[in-house]
């Protein structure tokens, strides 16, 4: 550390904050993706959990294809939902522990938008891989052909809502030691609509019902979550760090 060389240089005036929002958003997304990819265990954990649960069902219940095919949509959706839930606890906790969360709160950029970048990183490396992996596991549950695309699409749409809603709970419990159980209790009731329409979409694809209606409702849920949850996450973070 040498002495500042520019002793007499005037301090620059603070710039217009909104100009840099896109830069800050991209950098936050990039940073979170990088952090997750450097600890591949955390990315693979939910996927391994998802695969394990689905593998055990045919063994535990019955390998009969007709029975499995009936319960497959619900099983796949419940297992994916729990896998996503398990990974939520760390969304803000690591940042809170090393002090970078308070820096995020003190940034002149709107906190809600930056929080959205963190949620996007979570979904890209949790929800999206789960959705892509689900058709493979569907084969194990002898899911009828023709419903694989709907399964992946419904999970991709639904898990984005799950990440957004779950992040509110994660933000609220960030100050609570071992807040994992509390987080599940807070968030699970809010997950039910997503589960109903997500599993419903796959069910409809199998029985030849109206898939588009279910997917439209999932999309509407996602749109609502996208609009409201960033503000809720930001408010929850402020409450959590204010104690």
């Amino acid at each position: 550390m040498s002495k500042a060389e520019s002793r007499t240089a005037p301090l620059p005036e603070a710039g217009e904050a909104s100009v840099g929002l896109a830069i800050a958003w991209r950098a936050t997304l990039h940073r979170d993706l990088m952090l997750r990819l450097r600890r591949p265990g955390e990315v693979l954990n939910p996927l391994a959990f998802f695969a394990l649960v689905i593998t055990l069902f045919p063994i535990g219940i019955s390998p009969a294809a007709s029975l499995l095919a009936t319960i497959a949509p619900g099983l796949l959706w419940v297992a994916a939902l729990l896998a996503a839930l398990l990974s939520l606890d760390g969304v803000f906790r690591d940042d809170a522990e090393d002090g970078s969360l308070e820096q995020l709160l003190l940034s002149p950029q709107p906190l809600s938008v930056l929080a959205l970048a963190k949620v996007a990183a979570h979904w890209l490396l949790t929800g999206l891989p789960l959705a892509l992996m689900a058709p493979l596991l569907g084969v194990m549950l002898s899911l009828p052909a023709g419903s694989y695309g709907v399964l992946a699409l419904s999970l991709a749409l639904g898990s984005a809502s799950l990440s957004l809603i779950g992040a509110i709970g994660a933000a609220l419990t960030v100050g609570v030691a071992r807040g994992g159980v509390l987080l599940s209790l807070l968030v699970l009731p809010l997950y039910i609509p997503v589960l109903v329409f997500g599993a419903g979409a796959v069910q409809a694809a199998i029985q030849g019902g109206n898939v588009a209606a279910h997917l439209a409702i999932l999309g509407a849920l996602l749109a609502a979550a996208l609009i409201f949850s960033p503000f809720a996450i930001a408010a929850a973070l402020r409450i959590s760090l204010n104690g």
């Binding site: 940073r31 600890r39 002090g99 308070e102 995020l104």
Partner: protein
């Protein structure tokens, strides 16, 4: 450039104990205010209140005459806060850490500037190592490099000398002094004895009250 952070009749209670009461203070351009007091006397809490992180207090905080709540955006665009935890991601390299902080301030920045800032803080040659492999003092230096990288008038520093070696302490002290000469303001907590200077004022927090000295 205007810089005036004021607190009026500030009081904060934690666990049925007043950390401080009726505290009036003011930080202007060209001043270093050092907050001192024993462990648990509320130094960090005071800094968090003054940087707008804690709202759970009595009294008011004013930024350039306006309540902090209303002037928040402008205040944050002028503030550089370094907390007790350095805010350095151990899985990222010093360069990547600084790149995020620069982007958070809304600046694209470039690698040569970041490298120069790291070099200035004695981290030349360490810029591409994961911060987990750096010592505590070096991690603190990564955080301190933001002083160089993100020029903001008001510095709020919570124990910035922690884990810094002797030469580093001298250089950091000179840096604080230089910042006030350029018209900046510094609010700092430290157990380290700062060199006496006309720019330095002290605030002693203790049992149930705070006193500002000349």
């Amino acid at each position: 450039m205007s810089l005036r952070l004021q607190a009026r009749r500030l009081a904060c209670e934690r666990d049925d104990r007043w950390l401080f009461r009726d505290l009036d203070l003011e930080i202007r351009a060209g001043e270093i205010l050092r907050v001192e007091g024993p462990n648990g006397s509320g130094k960090t809490t005071l800094l968090k209140i003054l940087s707008g992180q804690l709202m759970d207090h009595e009294g008011e905080v004013l930024w350039n005459g306006a309540p902090l709540r209303r002037a928040r955006r402008d205040f944050l665009a002028n503030l550089l806060y370094l907390g007790h935890a350095p805010g350095v991601k151990t899985a990222l390299t010093p360069l990547e850490n600084l790149a995020w902080y620069q982007a958070l301030a809304g600046e694209r920045g470039d690698e040569p500037t970041r490298l120069a800032a790291l070099e200035r803080f004695g981290l030349a040659g360490f810029e591409d190592l994961p911060a987990a492999q750096l010592s505590a003092g070096q991690q603190r230096r990564v955080a301190l490099a933001r002083l160089e990288l993100t020029p903001r008038p008001l510095w709020v520093l919570d124990e910035p000398f922690t884990a810094i070696d002797r030469d580093g302490v001298i250089a950091l002290e000179a840096r604080l002094e230089a910042h006030t000469e350029r018209g900046g303001g510094v609010l700092v907590t430290t157990h380290h004895e700062l060199r006496a200077s006309t720019r330095l004022r002290r605030l002693a927090l203790g049992e149930g009250g705070g006193d500002v000295e000349g």
